[in-house]
């Protein structure tokens, strides 16, 4: 069982979309004690401090270990490794998070359709079950890997590591990670991404940001989707932005409709600008 949110992460599987589904990779995931072949020295990490052993003067063989170990430390260590890999290969990685049904996959589809001639994309899809999302991306001829978390409710950095090993993204590309639809747990798990994109649709409540502050706090930008439905709703966009800015004053907003294409151009411009900046930073 995942040691943080209680979901069962045994039986995580990583698959290619149905078109070429001859390669099923079973990945047994043990939460925080997932052992990697080079483990052993990963504890001596500068943000974990170092372990101290004190022997006291009593004769009862008691040892005090100063641990200062974050309960989520293993994921952070793996995320740092992913981040280093992405920086070395200049792969601009984004983590897309939202409630189920906000439109992550639709936004991805429209973005890929419009930009695939200009940029090289790779996609990692995360869902509990099915290859449905990966199949949608695959239909656009974009290389994609589906991670099925089984009972799991979020992606973790070691799943990304395993998926990337199969995906083999080229240098100077864009990697989109579509996380499991969930506004709670994914906020706690660094995947090694450069930017985190929180997506909310206007069919949800304006107070979502203060109900789920950790997610909005951890995001870099917020895409507000389904703008084509605005005439049919009593939705107050300014109220939504106010709530979101209370939690994260640095948040930038994009108002889009994945289905009509409205507003997508600004999101594309941000994407291209950040990609360029990322290349400069990594040079």
């Amino acid at each position: 069982m995942c040691g943080v949110c209680g979901c069962g992460t045994d039986g995580v599987s990583i698959n290619k979309p149905n078109k070429e589904n001859n390669h099923i990779h079973e990945h047994s995931h043990d939460g925080h004690t997932h052992e990697h072949s080079h483990d052993g020295h990963t504890h001596d990490h500068n943000h974990e401090g170092h372990t101290h052993h004190h022997h006291n003067h009593h004769n009862n063989q008691k040892t005090v270990i100063d641990l200062e170990r974050d309960i989520l430390s293993q994921n952070n260590v793996d995320a740092a490794r992913n981040r280093g890999y992405f920086e070395a290969k200049n792969i601009f990685t984004l983590n897309l998070v939202s409630s189920p049904g906000s439109g992550k996959t639709s936004i991805l589809e429209t973005t890929l359709k419009d930009l695939k001639e200009t940029l090289t994309f790779y996609v990692i899809e995360g869902d509990q079950q099915t290859l449905n999302d990966a199949d949608r991306i695959d239909a656009l001829n974009i290389p994609v890997i589906q991670v099925n978390t089984g009972k799991g409710c979020h992606l973790e950095s070691d799943m990304i590591y395993d998926a990337v090993k199969q995906l083999k993204p080229k240098e100077n590309s864009v990697l989109m990670i579509e996380n499991v639809g969930n506004l709670v747990c994914p906020s706690m798990f660094d995947l090694g991404e450069q930017k985190r994109v929180v997506i909310i649709s206007i069919t949800e409540g304006e107070d979502k940001p203060i109900k789920y502050p950790d997610m909005f706090d951890s995001a870099d930008i917020c895409i507000i989707n389904k703008m084509d439905l605005l005439p049919h709703l009593n939705f107050d966009i300014d109220k939504l932005k106010d709530y979101a800015l209370q939690v994260n004053p640095n948040l930038h907003f994009f108002e889009v409709s994945a289905t009509t294409g409205q507003g997508m151009k600004n999101w594309y411009e941000w994407l291209k600008k950040e990609l360029k900046q990322n290349q400069i930073n990594n040079a």
């Binding site: 925080h32 270990i65 641990l67 170990r69 309960i71 989520l72 430390s73």
Partner: protein
């Protein structure tokens, strides 16, 4: 959050470190938990006894160093206590802040024999 699973995460860390030190039991475990870490202390204490049965933590004394959340305003540098993530500076009402403490969720020390 899910306090039982937090307990299990702590047990995993304790078991690993106890084994590493070539010891068998934990006598005392000190946790550092922030008021905004998402963990309900009373829930954690409630599930602790059941969770640690038959583990290295079974008879360990549980000590929790609870950190009240504190933030520093990025505009006027006032330090203030934080009750909610979206609280603003009591002096200048800005929402731009650095969280100084309150999000800790860690195992601080283990006393093993």
């Amino acid at each position: 959050m899910h306090e039982l699973s937090i307990a299990m995460g702590i047990i995993k860390i304790a078991e690993k470190e106890t084994k590493k030190a070539n010891k068998t039991l934990v006598e005392r475990i000190e946790l550092e938990i922030g008021s905004m870490s998402g963990v309900e202390l009373s829930s954690l204490e409630y599930v602790w006894e059941t969770a640690v049965k038959n583990t290295v933590l079974e008879n360990a004394k549980l000590v929790i160093d609870y950190k009240e959340a504190k933030a520093k305003c990025l505009e006027c540098e006032t330090e203030f206590g934080l009750k909610k993530m979206y609280d603003s500076c009591p002096k200048c009402s800005s929402h731009f802040k650095n969280i100084l403490q309150g999000k800790e969720l860690r195992v601080k020390t283990l006393e093993v024999t």
